[in-house]
Symmetry: C2
Subunit: 355 residues, 2 copies
């Protein structure tokens, strides 16, 4: 027995191996992406995701090869000049840098690692407000009230939300956001190689408007191209068909279990670990302000106790994620995804307790 708490690629959801076996038996990897059978898989994945995540009519779902790609495609298709980025870690920073690399003029509000944001205020009139709802590098989560608070303050801007390592946990109010995305190797417990991008009509209109005005919005994976194929339940290129099939199956499994049960288990498991961290001597939560503590990526500040904690966990078959970047030698990250069972978290906390 072992458990892998690395925040991505995550350990697989327990049903994935069997779904993959069935996929190979049924010839899914050789399926034409222009066939009716493919369209049925596309439809099953998107219909299931809409139900699971409560996505209202008027939103479209398109697929890329990674969430990194969606950083690029969303800047390319939604921004002519400027985006405003809330940066508080390596991944929100990378989103900002991609906007720079694409020749835009992004701005940022920056907080230190481990911190959240206390104000929506900024200067300027950006086309996109880019939010990293769950900063995988530091375990800081933006409260949903904060995410939803931009709509009334900046009605002109598109609110673009990176929820790579939190979905399917957070319950978004879709009237307050325009674009939402994630990659499947985190909260969905699937092999990497697929990004899921959810957009409303305002995003599509904006991309069409940029295109009509002569702004370069990309080629096969521009938002207009992605959406026009999605209407036919297809993709512009030969996609990762196997990944789409596995996504459709895991989404069905999540629906069968019930998203409420998944969310309450997430809270239970997070409470277990944070409670231990609050009272432990060898470690403490890296994120001090409880308002900003992620439920799905929990970061422990271990400092000099790392050399005691890590071998003790490994000896039991428990594999925490390393701290990100320069925090590698002082922090541990624990993913708390649907693939991680309550039993695995109880076992983890028992093992930590024994250190």
């Amino acid at each position: 027995m072992q458990a892998n708490f690395t925040p991505g690629p995550s350990q697989l959801y327990f049903t994935v191996k069997d779904h993959a076996k069935r996929a190979f038996r049924d010839g899914i990897p050789s399926l034409s992406h222009r066939s009716k059978d493919f369209e049925a898989i596309f439809d099953s994945a998107t219909t299931g995701l809409k139900e699971l995540l409560g996505i209202p009519d008027g939103f479209s779902i398109v697929f890329t090869s990674s969430a990194t790609e969606i950083w690029e495609r969303s800047i390319q298709s939604l921004v002519a000049e400027s985006s405003m980025h809330f940066v508080n870690g390596a991944f929100s920073k990378r989103f900002f840098e991609i906007a720079q690399q694409l020749g835009k003029k992004p701005s940022k509000i920056e907080m230190a690692d481990g911190q959240g944001f206390h104000s929506h205020e900024f200067n300027g009139n950006p086309e996109v407000i880019a939010l990293t709802q769950n900063e995988t590098s530091t375990g800081v989560s933006l409260p949903l009230s904060f995410v939803h608070g931009f709509r009334t303050k900046y009605p002109q801007a598109l609110v673009v939300v990176d929820a790579v390592s939190s979905l399917p946990y957070p319950v978004f109010d879709y009237s307050c956001i325009d674009s939402l995305f994630f990659s499947v190797q985190k909260g969905f417990g699937l092999p990497a190689g697929l990004g899921v991008w959810i957009v409303n009509q305002k995003c599509i209109d904006k991309a069409e408007q940029l295109l009509a005005g002569g702004t370069m919005v990309g080629s096969y994976h521009s938002l207009p191209s992605l959406v026009s194929f999605a209407k036919k339940k297809q993709t512009p290129e030969t996609p990762n068909v196997l990944a789409l099939y596995l996504l459709s199956k895991v989404v069905a499994d999540f629906l069968h279990k019930g998203v409420k049960a998944i969310r309450s288990e997430t809270e239970y498991k997070a409470a277990l670990l944070y409670n231990w961290l609050e009272s432990a001597e060898v470690a403490k939560p890296f994120v001090i302000d409880k308002t900003f503590r992620s439920h799905t990526v929990i970061v422990a500040e271990c400092a000099s106790a790392m050399s005691k904690i890590v071998p003790a966990l490994h000896a039991q078959g428990l594999f925490p994620g390393e701290g990100y970047g320069k925090a590698k030698s002082t922090q541990l990250r624990f993913a708390n995804f649907p693939a991680h069972s309550k039993e695995q978290f109880e076992w983890l906390v028992d093992a930590l307790e024994a250190v």
Copy 2:
């Protein structure tokens, strides 16, 4: 028993299913893309490909999510103003159109479907000469002597070769080309979701030069970014780790069988089918000029006999690919990849003979 001759996604190479089973057993889909184990997979895939395809030192191999992406990335990273495209079918045309969508000023030399090119001549001074060595939509292959003939005539231009549906069959002279690419779901018999891009130092220098001069060359998948990660045996984003693993395994299988054996079997199978087409009453080769006939995608003009041929093949469990686009009702396409055995081709020709 059945055999699938669709030219992409192809039927799987016979070892893939077992490799996938082992991948799931060994936790490959949850492997961190920043781990030593991942670097070993990356190294195995690239080292194996260099041996298999005879790629000399000085060339780098990087990975994208599809060959469609490489159309985009190669224009983005290698062209400031203009590329010259040899267009003779749907896919070479798409490469040209992507250059237009990216805001470049591409030119084209165009031939009708089923035709090849008789001259290297064109006006202008393009930065890239874009060649579709094997036009999957029509079964036209550019002879290697033609592909290699641009170097001395246009020493300033980068020669970029799309060999999506021909590799590992053709034996390129790497002193005459600068960039070569394919996707794994054709000649390598793998699930879709990975593009392989081979570039020399001239390509890397060109991209660096564009970047330094302020041309937008992309973000995470610009050539400089891809190459800098490849040097560490890594990728900029979390990639399709499973696909890279499977590629490394199938390349090892191909090496074990021997690329010479694969190539001579390809010629044997192509000869079987073309010989039948030459003498058949119900069908004939779509490509008239033998010089341009593809060995790996064989297109049959069946006209009114389609309604006899297709059910007869289906009844035996043989699945030809449909003709591309408007040729859907009059042509059939037969992929001749390493995944297609000699026995399957003998069986196919027997079944056609019986029609």
